[in-house]
């Protein structure tokens, strides 16, 4: 059984007991434990079920490479699936549940898949479940989906918050083991700004566990002094619990800091997402031990050798009483020695190598541990827990020589450098035959904006596998990083006692000649249930590229992203194809290194502020009136102001009727307002608008259209000439920023010698449309300027005061009523708006929203950008030819409009429509034409662009585009409905209301 040892444990505090629960069972651990350590201390080796066959799964590793031990944690709004127990710090009250089983972890009916495993090889689903056709969606897929999926889906909105931060440095060191600290010491001493990230809560990495001796003392002591030294450097920042997740172009690094994972609910953000810009990135990310492929290597109790050592040394937890060590290298002997020193039994070390030399085996032998050279594990015995191993000759086919009883197996297949961060931006790898691993190819690094190497790998991550080599390599790398960012660095490495290790020997299958039955029990990917036989099947079937095999078998696609399985799988594939591993290549590494919480990626941009919110000066008033708001870009505008008991439709109709008979007020502040000024401003506007603006007299207004270079209508609005050199261009609400950018684009990039200045003053002004027969009465009551027809006729503007407010008044109308649009400084907007309401009460003032605005403009036959236009409509289509100058040699869009298709007389053109029965044409409807096209689609001859119930005319009115346009007046056409029917309508003039303009020109 696995248990807590009575002594030792460098990371635990025996005086601080922590209570937690697993599947409802109350358990105790110690402060400093990982959840994995605490579970093992309670003999909870079985922690989950695998993805496909639902096989029992135990803890395999001690770090982020753990494929099996994923649990659901917390509850309600703090429930989180797929938490890795090996990287979860224990805290009081932690609640964990195992995953992917029903009804219970110990008894899971899904394990039936395991008995059928033979019939469910890699890629089996591509070959079956095809008949009958409907069965995939209704039968097979639901079953597969339900049995896959691992953790439960959270149900609630996240109770935690997340922070995001930026950081900048010359040298970013990722990894706080001895190599990372050494690199940081060298870079820090040079004066470079250094940030060091460590994913766990502790500095030092593996060295203290491995018993390395640095500068003549145990590694722990050196780590402590190194961290102290770095802490004293003002130019160095140290961050624990921060995982370097991804390296992106131009030195951009994403890192996730786990702030409150171990103190949930304490008010701090759960995570902080760091976006770091680094001059150079030093990856000191260590290496990951590989499993060995022998039959039954997935039975709970089979663990990585170094991880076994981690549990013993760091947490005083023994994974088993009797642990068999199986290896192809010397490093695993450290585990045997550590176990023995902890007073545990090591019945045998099974070493696949025929010749076993080196310092560590000698020590093991001296401790009386039995070493079996040239041997292999034929098979692990046990179901939910290891009970023993059967031993055979590595060179043979698996004939059992002997069985050894044990309750744990510590395996080591060698070490693979963590090259993920090196590879994210295209760093290449080279195959190192000595260690049988890929390591960074320093001649093909990822490059930055200057084409220079951007990442420097050091230590284990660079294939420097001993402590002494790693320190030397890291000092060199740290110095190189500092020098590359223009600092003078001195390569000074701490010295470590060199332990002589015999070479490892690559062992990809154990035993070498294992047959099909054994290979079908050798697991490569524990979580996704991919076996040696699956990879061989993929190769046999022609899925020869790594990417094919990976996708066909799902090898390495699980939540550990193949940290344990990639190299072993690749080796099996290479063997199957009779090729060398480097020829077969490696898969692409994608960020993140370990999974990053989505909430952290979204940061504080949630709820109301998930995007910037733009408010007009009257926004608060609208909200106080319970206006129904609609998003217009980042603005929110009142759609309507419903009164108690009114539907939106009713309130919109009331607003229209009141405006047409009394007085309506519209908050038009969002309307774009751009100043264009300068000696060449007139010339510029003549290029920008389809009409002529240069000859607009000062004091007057003119309606204008803007097109893009393709000739399509992009925006419209009223332009006012302010003085000899100044024009004010109104744009649509959504168009202000876009049009201003458009102006700047042309002025800066094409006509840069023209003397024109532009300013977007949209937010400097509040603007109110005072609309209706009583509009003038209200303004006259406020007093201060002459707003009579004679002094301020239609399409003119004037500056003055109204009710003491400094105003600019435009006589323009988008409703067909007597109308003044009045601009005041934004700071006075709310006061002015309220003053209008107060003074206007006697004239029947009501606010109206965007929907009433739309209806009134449609009644009047005015086009709306975004309704009548959609990016494919030219002004000519909308009968706006009058607004296009025939005299101008050029304007933006003119050449585009000359192309065949745009100049064609067959284009659909604007007309009005009245349904025969008075109903409203459905929004989006098309006008049907006879017959079908070559693709069998019903022919069309037009479509509706705006359709409303007109409260004024008390019937449905519509505008739309139709082949023939106004020539079709009088025709009866049919609009389609989604249910297949049609609505008959008569083509009419699009001006439904006050055709002669009698109401607005008063």
């Amino acid at each position: 059984m696995s248990t807590r040892l009575s002594r030792g444990g460098r990371l635990i505090d025996r005086s601080a007991s922590q209570e937690f629960s697993f599947n409802g069972k109350k358990l105790r651990g110690l402060k400093g434990d990982t959840l994995a350590a605490a579970l093992l201390a309670n003999d909870q080796m079985l922690v989950g079920r695998s993805f496909k066959y639902h096989r029992p799964r135990g803890i395999v590793a001690a770090g982020p490479e753990e494929p099996n031990a994923l649990v659901g944690m917390g509850r309600g709004a703090r429930f989180e699936p797929n938490q890795r127990v090996t990287t979860t710090e224990l805290f009081n009250g932690l609640e964990a549940q195992s995953q992917n089983h029903w009804p219970s972890l110990e008894f899971d009916v899904g394990v039936i898949n395991n008995s059928l495993a033979r019939f469910l090889p890699g890629g089996f689903y591509y070959k079956t479940f095809m008949y009958p056709r409907a069965a995939w969606k209704h039968l097979f897929e639901p079953i597969i989906r339900a049995s896959a999926g691992l953790g439960k889906a959270p149900k609630d909105r996240d109770a935690d918050r997340y922070e995001q931060a930026y950081a900048f440095c010359d040298v970013l060191v990722i990894g706080g083991g001895i190599a990372g600290l050494q690199a940081a010491l060298v870079a820090g001493a040079s004066g470079a700004r250094v940030i060091v990230l460590e994913q766990t809560a502790h500095w030092g990495g593996r060295a203290p566990v491995d018993g390395d001796v640095i500068e003549g003392a145990p590694a722990d002591a050196w780590v402590k002094s190194a961290v102290e030294a770095l802490g004293k450097m003002e130019n160095v920042t140290l961050r624990v619990r921060t995982m370097g997740a991804g390296v992106y172009d131009h030195g951009y690094v994403l890192a996730e800091e786990k702030i409150a994972d171990h103190t949930p609910g304490d008010g701090r953000p759960k995570h902080r997402l760091w976006r770091i810009r680094a001059g150079r990135i030093v990856t000191a990310t260590g290496a990951i031990e590989r499993p060995l492929s022998f039959a039954g290597n997935d039975i709970p109790g089979v663990m990585l050798a170094a991880s076994v050592r981690d549990y013993v040394v760091n947490f005083a937890v023994s994974p088993g009483d009797r642990t068999v060590v199986v290896t192809n290298n010397d490093d695993a002997y450290r585990t045997a020695i550590a176990l023995k020193e902890a007073g545990l039994e090591v019945p045998a070390i099974i070493d696949a190598r025929v010749s076993v030399t080196g310092d560590l085996p000698a020590r093991a032998r001296a401790m009386g541990i039995r070493i079996e050279a040239g041997r292999a594990i034929a098979k692990v015995k046990g179901g939910k827990r290891v009970t023993g191993v059967a031993i055979c000759i590595q060179a043979g086919e698996g004939s059992v020589l002997e069985e050894i009883a044990c309750d744990a197996v510590a395996m080591s297949g060698g070490w693979s450098p963590v090259v993920h961060l090196w590879s994210h931006c295209g760093g290449k790898l080279v195959w190192d035959t000595t260690h049988a691993h890929f390591r960074p190819d320093a001649t093909k690094p990822p490059t930055n904006q200057d084409g220079q190497a951007m990442v420097i790998a050091v230590g284990n991550a660079n294939g420097a596998m001993s402590a002494a080599d790693a320190l030397a390599d890291a000092a060199k790398g740290g110095a190189a990083a500092a020098e590359a960012t223009s600092f003078k660095a001195e390569v000074k490495a701490a010295s470590a006692t060199q332990v002589t290790e015999a070479p490892m020997e690559a062992v990809w299958i154990m035993p070498q000649g294992a047959g099909s039955a054994l290979k079908a029990k050798m697991w490569l990917d524990y979580q996704n249930d991919v076996k040696v036989s699956d990879v061989q099947l993929a190769a046999r079937e022609g899925y020869e590229s790594v990417e094919h095999t990976k996708r066909y078998t799902t090898l390495g696609m699980a939540t550990d992203q193949g940290k344990l399985s990639n190299i072993n799988g690749l080796a099996i594939l290479a063997q199957s194809l009779n090729e060398d591993i480097p020829q077969v290549g490696t898969t692409t590494f994608r960020p993140p290194y370990t999974p990053v919480t989505l909430g952290a990626l979204a940061g504080e941009s949630r709820g109301e502020i998930f995007q910037p919110l733009r408010k007009t000066p009257m926004h608060a008033w609208h909200e106080a009136q319970n206006a129904y708001m609609e998003p217009v870009g980042l603005w929110r505008r009142p759609y309507t102001f419903p009164r108690a008991g009114e539907t939106h439709e009713q309130s919109v109709h009331r607003e229209v009727n009141n405006t047409r008979t009394n007085l309506g007020l519209l908050d038009a502040s969002t309307l774009g307002k751009i100043i264009v000024k300068g000696p060449d401003a007139g010339k510029f506007l003549d290029m920008l608008y389809t009409g002529v603006m240069s000859n607009l007299p000062v004091g007057k207004c003119r309606y204008g259209l803007m097109c893009n270079e393709q000739g399509f209508l992009s925006d419209d609005g009223v332009v006012a000439r302010i003085d000899e050199e100044t024009w004010l261009c109104h744009t649509t609400s959504g168009g202000a920023d876009r049009i201003h950018a458009w102006m700047e684009d042309w002025l800066q990039c094409e006509w840069w010698d023209w003397k024109v200045y532009t300013a977007n003053i949209t937010e400097q002004l509040a603007q109110v449309a005072v609309v209706g027969p009583n509009a003038r009465k209200l303004l006259e009551k406020l007093g201060g300027m002459d707003v009579s027809k004679e002094t301020l006729p239609f399409m003119q503007w004037a500056d003055g005061t109204l009710g003491g407010f400094p105003v600019r008044v435009y006589r323009i109308s988008f409703s067909g009523e007597l109308s003044y649009e009045i601009a005041v400084p934004a700071s006075l907007g709310a006061a002015f708006w309220e003053a209008l309401h107060k003074a206007g009460a006697e004239f029947g003032t009501m606010p109206y929203g965007t929907e009433a605005l739309h209806i009134m403009r449609a009644e009047k036959g005015f086009i709306m950008i975004g309704d009548e236009t959609d990016g494919t409509v030219i002004p000519q289509d909308l009968n706006l030819g009058w607004a296009i100058s025939k005299k101008k040699a050029d304007f933006l869009g003119k050449r585009g409009q000359e192309r065949n298709y745009l100049a064609s007389p067959d284009r659909w053109k604007l007309a009005g429509f009245e349904t025969l029965d008075g109903s409203v044409v459905p929004d989006g409807s098309y006008i049907v034409a006879a017959g079908h096209n070559a693709n069998g689609q019903g022919n069309t001859q037009g479509r509706v662009t705006s359709t409303y119930y007109s409260p004024t005319l008390k019937r449905g009115i519509a505008m739309g585009l139709i082949h023939g346009g106004l020539n079709r007046i009088g025709d009866v056409v049919e609009f389609n409905t989604v249910s297949g029917g049609t609505v008959k309508a008569k083509v009419v003039d699009p001006v439904f209301y006050d055709k002669d303009g009698a109401k607005q020109n008063v």
Binding site: T447, Q449, E744, Q748, C749, W752, R895, G896
Partner: protein, 107 residues
């Protein structure tokens, strides 16, 4: 995540401060041009896998448009220069040529 130095304000601007504007040094064809000239102006793009001259605006900075020479295969930035340039500066062209001997020139 690109960094481009704005030639106006000297800021090494990060991509989120910038707004991209695709190929640079396009010649505008207006009324009087042929259909082919106009089509090329609107649509024909070099789209090289390699050295590309392109427009950027320092939109959340000084607001100025500028031009950049950048490799679309490695994202290396050779240099930036003002938008008011009829062609890439000679020294920039020489620098690119030195780094990419196979480069056929900006035209």
């Amino acid at each position: 995540m690109l960094i481009l130095e704005c030639p106006y304000c000297g800021v090494k601007a990060e991509e989120t401060e910038l707004s991209p504007g695709y190929e640079a040094h396009l010649k505008r064809f207006g009324p009087g041009s042929s259909d082919t000239e106009f089509e090329d102006y609107m649509f024909a793009r070099k789209n090289p896998k390699g050295v590309h001259f392109e427009r950027w605006r320092h939109v959340y900075g000084c607001g100025k448009w500028f031009l950049a020479a950048r490799c679309t295969a490695t994202l290396e930035v050779f240099g930036t220069y003002p938008a008011q340039s009829a062609e890439p500066p000679a020294d920039l062209q020489a620098k690119i040529k030195a780094k990419r001997p196979d480069w056929k020139g900006y035209k």
